[in-house]
């Protein structure tokens, strides 16, 4: 199987979107463009386990073919890397299942194989997870309520870079924050191979109470360098796993 690039948006937020397009619908557009959308909802320390407002977190990720988790800030580091890796496996399994369907006929996926035969398929998925290139655009909500958590977010992103750079495949990361001053998102860090010493670039000051998650996601899609220029929002045959010539 060819080596390819996996594209992901990782949205870190603590609240409900309250301005602009419905983020779940933008997320499904991203998925069509071959970008999966993962969401981490960050809880306040005194929050109960399932506060209102964070309900849309799962809607956004399921529309975007990704993974979501709701956690307290302390668990952010482990969660960020778990979500990213799990979403990679999910994407790759989708690709492998497609191949299986071609070999075994319709309606066949790994789960339809007897347990004895799954091992080899899973080894292929793992090999791909280790060697595929990965592009992650991190979209951080920097509205006022997030500001005490930003130090933790920063740490967890450096940690993510450490985890992913242990892989054989190449990684590229970019960080954007929202809401921006005049545009939907602010560039914090352009595409780079490693996230180190990002404290200097991380915004200290945050904006008011608006959370335009939908517009921010929409803007983020445009920042994937390897995504071909879009001719509108109607493309339907986007391939989640873009194969590069090898």
């Amino acid at each position: 199987m060819k080596k390819g690039t996996i594209k992901q948006i990782l949205l870190i937020t603590d609240g409900c979107s309250n301005q602009g397009e419905d983020p779940a619908s933008i997320s499904s557009i991203a998925y069509q463009q071959g970008i999966s959308v993962n969401v981490i909802g960050v809880l306040e320390d005194d929050d109960s386990e399932q506060p209102e407002g964070l309900e849309e977190v799962e809607d956004i990720s399921s529309a975007g073919g990704g993974v979501s988790r709701i956690v307290y800030a302390q668990a952010l580091s482990q969660t960020v890397q778990m979500v990213t890796k799990q979403a990679m496996t999910q994407t790759l399994q989708g690709v492998v299942n497609q191949e299986l369907q071609q070999i075994l006929g319709d309606e066949k996926s790994m789960e339809d194989l007897p347990p004895e035969k799954r091992g080899e398929v899973m080894e292929v998925v793992e090999d791909l997870g280790e060697t595929s290139d990965l592009e992650v655009l991190i979209l951080v909500d920097t509205s006022a309520s997030m500001s005490p958590k930003l130090a933790t977010v920063k740490e967890s992103l450096e940690d993510l870079s450490l985890s992913l750079n242990a892989r054989t495949g190449k990684n590229r990361f970019a960080i954007y924050s929202f809401p921006g001053k005049k545009q939907p998102v602010n560039e914090i860090m352009p595409w780079t191979n490693k996230l180190q010493n990002i404290s200097s670039v991380f915004p200290k000051l945050t904006s008011g109470g608006i959370t335009p998650t939908g517009p921010a996601l929409k803007e983020a899609i445009h920042h994937f360098q390897s995504t071909p220029k879009l001719e509108g929002w109607s493309s339907e045959n986007g391939d989640i796993y873009e194969e590069t010539g090898f």
């Binding site: 977190v57 709701i70 956690v71 969660t79 496996t89 789960e111 450490l162 985890s163 892989r167 054989t168």
Partner: protein, 327 residues
């Protein structure tokens, strides 16, 4: 771990019968043994026999772990993980499917409670065992990864440290599959998360440290210095200092090398009495290396430690002989 929007862990009531879709074996749930990010492990009955059953919503995760257990079975010599009994799917209702695997049920106690009960000397012995097993694992090209007390158990007669969860086991050269911050060298800023033998040896040192700091601690601004301070502040850990230091810095190239040096430390430790408020210099000078003499005229400090320690001492020498004979 945090709260998931999807529920990865679910509750199976005691008495629930799980019948595999493919192999048609039936397992009766007894109780929960533990649960993690991937799934839940239950004690279950199969033909009147106790087994451990790990069940999950994620068939891919189950398959990955089964692959590891199968690789262990191919390893020569003593068994590394629990042995694998069955792999199957459970479909209680349509469109509601789980994957599970069944393994040997290892009954025992946690490392920390064992050390508390039997005495500090047993920590060294258990670590020598662990390093021996790790050496075997490393030789077949794997790294344990998520090495922590929760994934270890001490089984009895004879006392033996066994692995109960192999979910983090990773092929060498790849990115560590699963880890726990406190035992992860990346978190302590002392290395990468690429699977190599030294990754496990770092975790061995942290397992030793947590025995004396069971509540764990934060890394602070200078993680390595924090660790050194904790080691210096504890008498037991201090006696293994150089060994721990090398493991934390990644200076051991193999598990066998650390095992050998740790065995030396244990031998030195045996020669020096644990300082008391009134140290008796005379007995410490006469301390002999052979177990026979120690047995015939036990020094005062040893008396107080009781017979369990004597057994421990003999066992250490037995292990030392084993280790030395392999080099």
């Amino acid at each position: 771990m945090g709260i998931s929007t999807k529920k990865p862990v679910f509750n199976l009531r005691p008495g629930t019968k799980i019948r595999g879709k493919w192999h048609q074996n039936t397992y009766q749930i007894v109780k929960v043994l533990g649960s993690g990010a991937i799934g839940t492990v239950y004690l279950a009955l199969y033909n009147q026999r106790s087994v451990a059953l790990k069940i999950s919503h994620q068939p891919s995760a189950i398959t990955t772990e089964v692959n590891v257990l199968k690789a262990f079975e191919k390893a020569q010599g003593k068994r590394l993980g629990p042995s694998l009994i069955d792999v199957d799917d459970w479909v209680p209702k349509q469109a509601d499917s789980y994957s599970f695997y069944v393994m040997e049920y290892l009954k025992g106690q946690s490392l920390n409670s064992f050390i508390q009960q039997k005495g500090d000397d047993w920590l060294g012995i258990m670590m020598i065992q662990l390093l021996g097993d790790l050496h075997q694992l490393h030789q077949i090209g794997w790294v344990f990864g998520d090495l922590k007390p929760e994934n270890l158990i001490v089984t009895h007669s004879p006392s033996r440290l066994r692995w109960i969860d192999v979910g983090g086991t990773t092929k060498q050269g790849r990115a560590i599959k699963e880890y726990t911050e406190f035992y992860d060298r990346g978190y302590w800023e002392l290395g990468s998360r690429k699977a190599d033998p030294a990754y496990d040896l770092f975790a061995v040192a942290m397992v030793m440290i947590q025995v004396y700091y069971p509540d764990r601690f934060d890394k602070g601004h200078q993680p390595y210095q924090t660790l050194m301070n904790k080691i210096k502040a504890n008498q037991q850990l201090r006696s293994y200092r150089t060994c721990l230091e090398k493991a934390l810095r990644g200076q051991y190239s193999s598990s066998a090398q650390m095992q050998k040096e740790l065995a030396q430390k244990i031998a030195e430790k045996r020669k020096q009495p644990i300082p008391r408020s009134q140290p008796s210099a005379a007995t410490s000078k006469q301390k002999s290396y052979t177990s026979v003499q120690q047995k015939s005229s036990p020094p005062k400090w040893l008396e107080s430690l009781g017979i369990a320690t004597v057994t421990g001492v003999l066992y250490v020498f037995y292990l030392l002989l084993q280790v030395i004979s392999t080099f």
